[in-house]
Amino acid sequence: MIQHPGVLSLLAASALVAGLLALAAGFGLRILLRWDLRSGSDLQLALERETYLVSTLVAFALGTEILSLFLFIFTADNLHGLFAGAMCAAGTLNAAPGGYATLLLKVADCLLAGLWLILNHADTRGYDYPLIRIKYAFLLVLAPLVLAEGLLTYRYFGGLKADVITSCCGSLFSQGRGDLAGDLASWPEGRVMGILAGVLGATFLEGIVFLRTRRGGYLFAGLSGLAFLAGAASLVSFISVYIYELPTHHCPFCFLQAEYGHVGYFLYGTLLGGGITGLGVGALMPFRTHLSLAQAVPALQRRLTQATLLLFGLFALLVAYRVWTSALRLGA
């Protein structure tokens, strides 16, 4: 294992988050089995008191989980100089088994963690613990995934050796490789650009409709999820080539580097943030008529919708700016 501060921090954070979530999952099981708000038993009152502590710890753990995604890609990028052939995080992730699996699971866990934090926030707005069973049931799904991610992270970093020769991003994200990265790089840029513009446009339109009429929350959430996927695919398909001004370079990691103004962090941050807040609107839809949440949830959905529009708007503006000002002109 490479004794890099980022690696050590990520392993410590993974152990902390997985440990806290394992403990919280045990508490969640007790909530699912024994929670009865009508009862005045000492067990019920103890559960009511403990849920404050557990929810706070889980919120802290999941906040750390989301931040750790950015530390993970930063560390992968920072380590690339140690591996022969690596030019950026793409090479580092390929230098040991499980690098890309860890990254993908981390992204999925971050989305789910964001949704849990939104549900937890909504739960604290109601006086009768309206979402307590749902959020702990959700935690029982999330905890094994975070635990698996922790194990994958340990396995991946444990397998990193400084003398390994790895592939560079030019090879990993090149057309005709026959894998997902190759397929994304092979898609026609114009068509993908059109799809991204269409999905983002539809998301904006539906977001405005939802803000005005309070209808179509599920559609907005679905479109936000699609916008997240379309944005991620676009980063490989065409955004990268405009940023590098090189039609064959589809790497989604090189633009994290100082040479490109660390623009990748902004693109990933706005995309992930918009995905979480947009999906959060849909996650709250079933509870907007709950008696104790009848005012809090619509207000929260409104703020989440505005955040989604802002984050996706910033993403779209930055992409448009980079495409517009790029010296590269595809299909001209």
Partner: protein, 241 residues
């Protein structure tokens, strides 16, 4: 209406120094009545008051409260009752601030601060208009004959004056329920009778009054609607004579 149902409060549960201060108490307190909890020191009166007043949570049992007026519960109708022991902390705080006015045994006024500021203090967390709060506090001080002491630090006031400042402070948020813990413990007989007359006046305005006391001038007062005898954390119901 306050409905206390099988409430127990145990301190240090599961440890050698475990102590049950309130033991399975059930009690109904009607709206607009003056109720007294009487009994010797250590009988659990103060603990029960703190549970009803949302200052502590029971170990088991529930307490329901009718007529809660706060913006935190927009979905509750006027006549609906609210179970308060399960409330998350922020809601419990809202109920405590908006529903109860407290008069403590040792008054718990802040030394070095003027009588007016002491009275205004419970109004600050509610975030209302400061000018209105000051006017309300001044009116209360005037009502209790303390206008000339309004700007004086409370350190210079006599025992009777301190108590009237404490009563004014309890009323500043216009509470539906007044809770007083041994309010006459440091007063002479004349001031104790005067205190009960004040409480009688509040009762006539529709406020519910709950007093813990082992002073006969309090629990034998003709103004008392119900007196409950507490001993070893348990309740023995009596009817007033």
């Amino acid at each position: 209406m306050i409905e206390v149902s099988h409430v127990t409060k145990t301190f240090h549960a599961g440890r050698p120094n475990m102590f049950t201060a309130v033991d399975g108490v059930s009690l109904s307190i009607a709206r607009g009545q003056l109720t007294v909890l009487k009994g010797p020191s250590g009988s659990g009166k103060t603990t029960l008051l703190s549970l009803i007043g949302c200052m502590a949570r029971p170990s088991s049992g529930r307490i329901r409260l009718q007529g809660v007026r706060t913006e935190a519960f927009p979905s509750l109708g006027d006549g609906a009752s609210l179970e308060i022991t399960s409330l998350p902390e922020r809601f419990l705080t809202e109920v405590r601030r908006a529903t109860f006015g407290f008069i403590f045994q040792h008054f718990n006024l802040i030394k070095g601060v003027s009588a007016l500021e002491n009275v205004m203090l419970p109004g600050y967390p509610l975030g209302g208009d400061h000018t209105l709060l000051r006017r309300r506090a001044s009116e209360l001080l005037e009502r209790f004959g303390l206008t000339r002491h309004a700007r004086e630090p409370i350190d210079r006031l006599s025992g009777g004056e301190l108590q009237r400042v404490a009563i004014a402070r309890a009323l500043v948020n216009d509470p539906a329920v007044i809770i007083a813990d041994e309010p006459t413990a440091h007063l002479d007989s004349r001031l104790s009778v005067s205190f009960m007359e004040l409480m009688g006046g509040f009762k006539e305005t529709g406020r519910t009054i709950l007093i813990a006391s082992h002073d006969p001038l309090v629990f034998d007062s003709p103004l008392v609607d119900a007196a409950h005898d507490m001993r070893d954390g348990k309740l023995h119901v009596e009817t007033p004579t």
